[in-house]
């Protein structure tokens, strides 16, 4: 087989390969407009919500405490 033909076939295979992968991404990215950004998604729940919430007469009372040797595996345990 002539060298030039081999180069042409091989180039075509790789160009086609790269083309359909690129095309899929382009199609995917451009086909779902209006997607929420992450920031909007976080905001979405409180967006447009009117609220008023107050906590009054707060009183904090000590209830109990515990002290123990730190576990060897360095995990915090609450007893």
């Amino acid at each position: 087989m002539p060298k030039i033909l081999i180069i042409l076939i091989c180039s075509l295979i790789l160009a086609f390969f790269a083309a359909f992968i690129t095309c899929y991404f382009l199609a995917k990215i451009t086909s779902l407009p209006g997607k929420k950004s992450e920031a909007e998604e976080d905001e979405f729940n409180l967006f447009g919500v009117k609220y008023d919430c107050v906590a009054k007469n707060i009183e904090v009372k000590n209830k109990s405490y515990s002290s123990h040797e730190r576990p060897k595996d360095d995990k915090t345990r609450i007893y």
Binding site: L8, F16, I21, P33, G48, K63, S66
Partner: protein, 550 residues
Amino acid sequence: MFACKNCGGNIIYDIKSKKLVCKKCSSSFAPESVTKENDSVDYDYFETTVFTCPQCGAEIMCEDNEASSFCTYCASSTVLTSRISKEKKPDYIIPFEKTKEECIGEFKKITKRAIFAPSELKDSKILDQFKAIYVPYWFYEVNQEGLFKVSGAEIHKTADFVTSYYFDVNGYIKGEFEGICRDASYSFSDDLGERIAPFFTEGKKKFYPSYLSGFYADISDVDSIVYEHEAEELANDVAREVVSNASCKGEYKNMKIYLSNDEATEQFNTAVSAKRALFPIWFMSFKNEKKVAYMTVNGQTGKAASDFPISKRKFAIGILLLTLLFLPITWLIVSLFPQRTAFATLDAALLLSCASYIIYYVQMKILQIKDSGSEDAGRFYQKTKVVYIKNKDKNELLKQYIRQSIIDIVMGVFYVGMILWEVPFILNISSQGKLFSIGAMSGVFRVFLIVGNLILAAIGFIRAGKLKNSAKYYGALLGGILMAAVLGIELINAQSAILSIISSVLLCAGAFLTIFDLVLYHNELTTRKPAHLKRRGGDAIAEDINNFDM
């Protein structure tokens, strides 16, 4: 129809002037001043005309006979049957603020970017089919009031000891939340609703039936219970934050409040109530084969969103053009390896094929989640009668993610292992010391790559099998068969240049079929069967429900 007090002509709501305007004598009236005879008698219901499509069973309210010849939901030109009906009166309405011209302008902006969308969607005649529809929403109000007692803790760690202090936090809370909104229409997906959100509820008005004059309105068919939990959780999250900010300061600044959602509801006396509302949406359905795609624009803000199907013709043209564009580059790359052209091409094809199967594998996972419909709380409830509650616990979410990702992790380790194995070969450290000689990929690495791709194709195909309507698509299976043929060639004769070129062609064909499957699945998910089928009567119900997967 609402009649003009001056001349008896038809009066319709004018978006620009925000008044009802007579078509004949141009008189204008405030919407609240216009009523029908029966409206004042019944405070909970109002009389309207309901049109039913004989094709898909969609029901829509409209005061105008214009609705009788075209179904907005299934895009069929047909004669709709009509009946006078008494419908539950919504509490609020957000009137349209964007005109049809403004809506089309906003929609054109998003279609400009959608280069693979069907050309018809850019046609002015098609865009003229946008209809102004009031979509039912639930408008939740949450109240919290009363004395509460919650637990707090402060933990101090030293090198050897952990000391924990526990507290009781008492206080009084008062919270009022208004405007937590979720769509109450089964046919309108949560995803589309969220993408055109937000609606600014400051613009809401008390509902008067005259607001509907000249517009369509969908009928509410999702129970208010579906989103009650979300409204409750949102209010509890805010209240927890407020209590935390008010108590964890000064000498208690290191204290943390521990309170689950259920405990918060009990302690803060959280009570949720739902009111009916109608929100303005410019809506168009586009027929793509036997299904329809919905195009939407927020009638208050003009925000547009849509799921565009991919036009197969445009996709093919795109591939052709990009192939021509990439050809000089690949020609240049291939020419760099005059002695081992066929083998270098096979190596590159293997890497590209590997990329294709990884894309297929990942995308199939995403499509599987979308296909399950579990993200749409309204549809989930309709199907299961169970309220879908999103898990918000970070640790639980992480565990869940790891459980679902075990196969991904195993495949990741497999590929990283293969690359580590190949690095000395790629760098040719072991032989002539030439740096990065493509076309000298080790035989073992090639076989590993093919096997890896085969595994990905198999997992992807199994995932695809679990999708609805998946029986039609066999891209990954065919791709796997072609991949197995390449494996056979590699094991029998890896030194033949001609066989290497044939292998490259097979890899390319297999990967293309697999990626094309993703395009078909995408189109399947961006379009839907008209969602009203369950409203039909008689034998049609049984037939439709059998054929209709949510």
